[in-house]
């Protein structure tokens, strides 16, 4: 996995990774669709308990929505349409899924990108405090902060920021922070102890050059992989935050879709999420290091 590979080997690896990606996305999407289809509450809707609607009308409404009952056929049709960019129409919102995603993507992207960047920055700051000054006070402080934010539910953190009228991406950053702190700390500790860094310090290299070339540069593949994985982490944190704080993003969409068993929407979301996660994992693998979350 590590070590030098020739051009042919790299092409083969890329090809296999791509194949793996496609397989994973297709199977992942199907597994998600199956979970939704066979969960209780799929085949009923609120009309069943609405006294104003007669049995006949309820049956007729139900029949008009019965096209998803054959799962394999539905999934195959769905996939072929998805390849053309058509992710179907949401059952609960009656709007094309691609339109929903397009409208909501900016909100969620903003939260994820700023939240990830903020979380990585704060994590790096704390990790530096824990490793570099070689003082136990710094380590205790960093570790305490990390533990504190690990314990708070992300949604509660977000609500707090919401009521204080502060931007929500800060809550995402604080939620991501403890989950990356350990990894960054491990990498920094390794770099700190490495012979090349010691030699550079002994030669009197300036702190800025030290930071850029010997710290960031030395572990660049790891940082890139970490960034990718953190984005995935941030998305997991976003769902409860958006759901609780009524933020009109993709996380809230996923939660509402789950509650209303909206199969086309959930299928679309599953395909996209699996694709993003798979890309992040593949990136880490290709770069030869997956020291996530130590």
């Amino acid at each position: 996995m590590t070590g030098a590979v020739d051009k042919q080997g790299l092409a083969a690896r890329l090809g296999l990774t791509l194949l793996n990606l496609v397989l994973v996305v297709v199977i992942g999407g199907f597994a998600a669709a199956a979970l939704v289809r066979y969960s209780p509450g799929f085949d009923v809707d609120e009309n069943s308990w609405n006294p104003r609607i007669s049995a006949a009308t309820s049956e007729a409404l139900h029949a008009s929505r019965a096209r998803e009952n054959e799962l394999p056929r539905f999934y195959l049709n769905y996939l072929s349409a998805a390849l053309r960019g058509d992710f179907g129409q949401s059952d609960s919102l009656k709007v094309p899924v691609s339109e929903l995603l397009r409208d909501r993507a900016p909100v969620t992207t903003r939260l994820i990108v700023f939240g990830t960047a903020g979380g990585l920055f704060l994590g790096a700051l704390l990790a530096w405090l824990a490793v570099w000054p070689r003082k136990s006070a710094g380590e205790i402080f960093s570790v305490t902060i990390s533990g504190f934010f690990l314990a708070i539910p992300p949604a509660v953190l977000a609500l707090f920021f919401f009521f204080e009228e502060a931007p929500l991406w800060i809550a995402v950053a604080f939620a991501v922070l403890p989950r990356v702190f350990g990894t960054i700390r491990a990498v920094l500790a390794n770099v700190h102890a490495s012979p090349s860094l010691l030699a550079a310090r002994a030669r009197g290299v300036r702190p800025l050059t030290l930071a850029v070339r010997h710290v960031a540069g030395a572990a660049l593949p790891q940082w890139i992989a970490l960034a990718g994985v953190t984005l995935v982490l941030a998305f997991g944190v976003i769902i409860p935050i958006e759901a609780l704080c009524d933020v009109p993003g993709i996380g809230q969409l996923a939660w509402k879709a789950a509650l209303s068993r909206d199969l086309p929407l959930l299928c679309g979301l599953a395909l996209i999420i699996t694709f993003v996660v798979a890309c992040a994992q593949s990136l880490g693998e290709l770069l030869g290091w997956e020291g996530i979350g130590r």
Binding site: P40, G41, F42, D43, V44, D45, E46, N47, S48, W49, N50, P51, R52, I53, S54, A55, A56, T57, S58, A60, L61, S64, S92, L93, K94, V95, L100, D103, R104, L159, F162, F163, L244, C245, D246, P248, Q252, L253, K256, L259, S260, R261
Partner: protein, 528 residues
């Protein structure tokens, strides 16, 4: 230039007080903007604000008032009704509205292929009515036999334009001008609305209404207290107390609403229910004993913070016309409950109630999760029944799973639910009481009534459905309430008060317990 100035002067009085936007929230997405496809309360709320109807029930006086129709007559002993429309009516897109549009709307509602819930209201046991527009202003609707409530029904028929669209035109005070899924619906003032106030100003006073989609009640409350919204149409008891403290004039308690909270037991021949348990649930004495062991006053005091009244049956005590005044809420008496249970062979041993075969009395109570009020009620009930030796297991389920159990698989024992936005006339809930009704709680869609009293209720309900006189129907409905109190297949707990928060800047509100409570006269609301 002079012409423009003159025009501005003419319209200025109309705009004088109507320069604001009313903002409030609904808890979920409106599934449809088509008045013929209102399947849940959020779509219903939007429809109340946008649909043009022939007649409207004044929610305060209960009288029927002319809207798109300026007069009407009931003929042939309640079998037919003739409406006379106003002239010069238009939809919000400028297209004309006349009797032909009414006929077309009604035909679409009654079309089985359309599967319109509104159509269900207009069908009778003899089938759909014949609809005939004699000319552009007169329309006759004729049933084969007399239909109860034949005039008041039309309060619910929103007239639709010929051209449908994503954001359809409407004939009410507002029309849907913008919809962002998950965020809000904006309703803009209908420039062609026919109604004027006594001074001759065109209504509505408001320029627009912004209906936010907000699931989180705490955020809704925070927005209201910050002044970002002017109304909370349904507020929870905890939040109500907070508004009372921080904005005393804004919190309004309109007294008991028509809503109710209740519990019942599964009496259907479900395979998952053991026979000995079904024997408990089908015994009226058992049900009375359970009902008598529950402290309704504690529920009203603790769960609803005093903003609820113990219920005395399916019709709320606040429903002045239809409630049977001879009925009283049951007071808690655990000792009397134990005596009643003893007559059925139940006995206590070691603090546990057992039936005559020795089975410990234990059952599960399902309710919907995410509803704090209902979960707290369940905990109080669990404790109350625990005191007489009955073990209750509370299971809170998401709504889909819950409906699956009570409406489809019938795999449950006890259930705790409620009805909200209940209409004043009990004919709206007939599917709950008819034994063949799909929402007949303890045994949905019975093939035939399982007991003589259920058969009697069926008979009475069908009788009043074709009775044109409200007073005659009242006598029949009183009898139905009496039977339901005698048998208690559904144990009614409380009627929550209707609580809302209205900012003092909103004028003209005449809130009443009947839905849509504070919004029924939206065209006369203004913000100062």
């Amino acid at each position: 230039m002079k012409l423009l100035f003159a025009l501005l002067l003419c319209v200025a009085p109309a705009f004088g007080t109507a320069s604001k936007e009313l903002r409030f929230a609904i808890p979920g997405e409106p599934k449809s903007f088509d008045p013929l496809h209102l399947e849940e309360s959020n779509s219903q709320t939007i429809s109340y604000l946008t649909s043009g109807v022939l007649v409207k029930i004044n929610r305060v006086t209960g009288k029927l008032e002319p809207e798109l129709a300026d007069s009407w007559e009931i003929r042939e002993g309640g079998r037919a009704i003739v409406f006379h429309m106003r002239s010069g009516l238009k939809f919000s897109d400028g297209s004309p509205l006349n009797a032909n549009d009414v006929a077309r709307t009604l035909a679409r509602a009654l079309d089985p292929k359309e599967a319109s819930p509104t159509g269900d209201t207009f069908r009778s046991s003899d089938g759909p009515p014949a609809v005939q527009a004699a000319n552009a202003r007169d329309i006759t609707i004729r049933y084969k036999s007399p239909k109860a409530n034949i005039d008041r029904l039309f309060d619910q028929l929103g007239i639709t334009p010929a051209r449908s669209g994503k954001l359809p035109a409407s004939a009410g005070p507002f029309f849907v001008s913008e919809y962002r899924p998950g965020e809000y619906v904006r309703l803009s003032r209908n420039p062609y609305y026919w109604k004027r106030d006594p001074e001759g100003h065109q209504l509505p006073y408001l320029d627009s209404v912004r209906v936010d989609i907000q699931t989180n009640h705490d955020i809704e409350l925070a927005r209201f207290l910050r002044g970002e919204s002017q109304m909370i149409t349904r507020i929870e008891p905890d939040a109500f107390d907070r508004v009372s403290k921080e904005k005393p004039g804004a919190a309004r308690n309109l007294g008991a609403s028509f809503d109710s909270e209740f519990l019942w037991f599964n009496e259907s021949p479900s395979k998952t229910l053991p026979d000995w348990k079904r024997r408990w649930f089908t015994s009226a004495a058992f049900r009375h004993a359970i009902s008598g062991a529950i402290h309704r006053d504690d529920i009203a005091r603790i769960v609803f913070r005093g903003h609820a009244h113990p219920a005395a049956g399916p019709i709320s005590t606040a429903n002045a016309f239809w409630f049977n005044r001879s009925l009283k809420p049951r007071t808690a008496d655990p000792q009397a409950s134990l005596k009643l249970l003893a007559t059925e062979g139940f006995h206590q041993s070691g603090g546990v109630l057992r039936d005559r075969e020795g089975h410990a009395v234990e059952f599960s109570l399902i309710t919907n999760s995410g509803n704090t009020v209902r979960e707290r009620m369940a905990q109080l009930i669990q404790e109350d029944l625990g005191r007489i030796g009955i073990r209750v297991n509370i299971v809170a389920l998401d709504f889909g799973s819950l409906i699956q159990r009570i409406a489809k698989t019938l795999d449950y024992e006890g259930a705790l639910l409620g009805f909200a936005n209940v209409e004043e006339d009990p004919i709206e809930e007939i599917n709950v009481w008819l034994s063949s009704g799909p929402q007949h709680p303890w045994w949905p869609s019975e093939k035939s009534p399982a007991t003589p009293w259920e058969a009697r209720i069926d008979q009475l309900l069908l009788q009043q459905a074709s009775e044109p006189s409200r007073e005659a129907r009242k006598k029949t409905v009183d009898e139905v309430q009496r039977i339901l109190e005698e048998q208690e297949p559904v144990i009614y707990l409380v009627n929550p008060d209707y609580l809302c928060a209205i900012a003092p800047s909103v004028k003209g509100v005449q809130a009443s317990p009947a839905p849509p409570q504070a919004l029924w006269n939206i065209e006369r609301l203004r913000i100062e």
